[in-house]
């Protein structure tokens, strides 16, 4: 009798755990699909200051990112605050960010007839998830450290973000997150999704209602994430791309061979937009 009890309870516990686990996965997948297929309502008045967060990577990714920002003629009077996230030790990306801000964005200003403000920018350094030659034993810890740092950046609490406090933005959260593929981007986009999940849970259970009066109806329309697959990727997605396929709100590809890929059937497809680099 005793053994029958223990076997049966073990069976039920296992069944329960499986059902609970599976339904959590299904709910998550459904929520991701729903979020990815949702469109941002037109709620923002045209002259609202915008906070753009750009995640930079190593050499090639960074060069491509600034090439895209140059080609789209990023307007510093519209995107009033720019945050550039670089990995620790990546001086090249930090230098390129300063160069872009001081030459490209101010040049644009001087050619305009009516001078407008170029706003402000900050360059934020986050620790690497895994350094080259770092042991795989310590890698999980450094990944958590890197992830925590990304959360701080999104909440405007990172020590490198002093200039954010003096900007006219009402919220510390970036309005839009743009990236093209380094490992740090996975951390930043995952952190943004978790913050959004947290906000939507808060609004469901009406905790902290009124804490973000400037926020639109749904927290899902903050911290929108755009991933651009590298121009160097013609036929296969990069590892970051594969990881971010279900997570990014928009997934842009620059070659026709990558059009229409999706993480699972109900998800949003990748969009082919042609070369975005100049």
């Amino acid at each position: 009798m005793e053994s029958w009890l223990s076997w049966s309870s073990l069976f039920w516990a296992a069944t329960f755990a499986t059902v609970a686990g599976l339904s959590t996965v299904i709910i998550f997948m459904h929520a991701l699909a729903k979020s990815q297929n949702s469109q941002v309502p037109r709620w923002r008045s045209p002259n609202t200051p915008i906070h753009l967060l750009v995640v930079l990577g190593s050499g090639g990714h960074t060069a491509e990112m600034f090439s895209m920002l140059r080609r789209m003629k990023l307007d510093p009077s519209k995107f009033t605050h720019r945050t550039y996230v670089v990995s620790s030790g990546d001086n090249f990306s930090a230098t390129k960010a300063v160069e872009f801000e001081t030459t490209d964005l101010s040049k644009k200003l001087s050619t305009d007839e009516k001078p407008a403000s170029t706003g402000s920018y900050s360059i934020v350094t986050v620790p690497r998830a895994r350094r080259v030659h770092q042991s795989f034993l310590t890698a999980p810890f450094s990944t958590i450290q890197s992830f925590w740092s990304c959360l701080l950046v999104l909440r405007g609490l990172h020590p490198d973000q002093q200039s954010l406090k003096s900007s006219p933005l009402r919220s510390p959260y970036p309005d839009i997150i743009l990236t093209n593929g380094p490992a740090t981007a996975v951390c930043v986009i995952l952190a943004a999704r978790l913050l959004r999940l947290w906000f939507s849970l808060c609004s469901v259970f009406s905790i902290g209602r009124g804490a973000h009066p400037s926020a639109p109806a749904s927290s899902d329309f903050q911290m929108r994430t755009i991933f651009v697959e590298s121009w160097a990727r013609v036929k296969t997605l990069s590892l970051s791309g594969k990881l971010l396929l279900p997570l990014a709100d928009r997934f842009l590809v620059q070659w026709p061979g990558l059009e229409g890929k999706k993480a699972w059937p109900s998800m949003r497809e990748t969009e082919y937009v042609g070369p975005l680099v100049d």
Partner: protein
């Protein structure tokens, strides 16, 4: 840096970059071989500038001692090299552009298949030979080089066929497409990065 040209003679520069991050000894060896230097001489090149990378130093020095400046092994070419340039390679790439005021006739660029170097050369409108590095593990460079060749922007070449790629690059010079591509009528519906960002910000019309 190539020295100022003697009056009346046009400078024609071939610039080679092997990249800064990964070493590419196979390309470096190929371009320092006699066959390649002969091909350059036949196509009226006057200067060869090589960015040989951090660990290309020993190969470069071996060439210097094998063919010291002024020796017949150089085939009359002015050959220069440097390891890499922290500030980027734009200045070196511009040396290959046709510029009658500076006595430069249009040269060409031979590059590893890194996207930064490819884009730099495409922007200049100088014929470009792209050589994918076969020693890199995840070799999506080959796909990029082939696709760009199919579309008529570059010449893709194996590091062994680099001398014959020079002729194909000379042929490309007369029919090069401009970069960035002009958006045709069929691409008008494609959204630009600015459009996508506006979508996601949800601006009121």
């Amino acid at each position: 840096m190539p020295s100022p040209p003697p009056p009346g003679a046009a400078v024609k520069v071939c610039f080679i970059t092997v990249g800064a991050t990964a070493s590419f000894h196979l390309l470096l060896q190929s371009v320092l071989e006699d066959e390649f230097l002969l091909a350059l001489e036949r196509l009226d090149f006057t200067h060869l500038l090589v960015q040989y990378g951090k660990d290309g130093q020993s190969l470069w020095e071996a060439f210097q001692s094998r063919c010291p400046p002024g020796s017949a092994g150089r085939h009359g070419l002015e050959i220069d090299g440097f390891d890499f340039n922290q500030a980027g390679l734009d200045a070196e790439m511009r040396l290959t552009r046709a510029s009658p005021s500076e006595g430069q006739t249009g040269g060409l660029i031979i590059s590893h298949a890194g996207s930064g170097s490819i884009l730099g050369a495409l922007r200049l409108g100088v014929p470009l030979v792209v050589v994918p590095n076969p020693t890199l593990k995840d070799n999506h460079q080959e796909e990029l080089a082939q696709e760009l060749q199919t579309q008529g922007y570059v010449v893709a070449s194996d590091y062994r066929g680099i001398a014959s790629a020079l002729d194909r690059a000379e042929a490309l010079r007369t029919q090069m497409l401009t970069w960035p591509p002009v958006r045709g009528v069929s691409q008008r519906r494609q959204r630009t990065l600015g459009d996508v960002m506006s979508d996601e910000l949800g601006f009121l019309d």
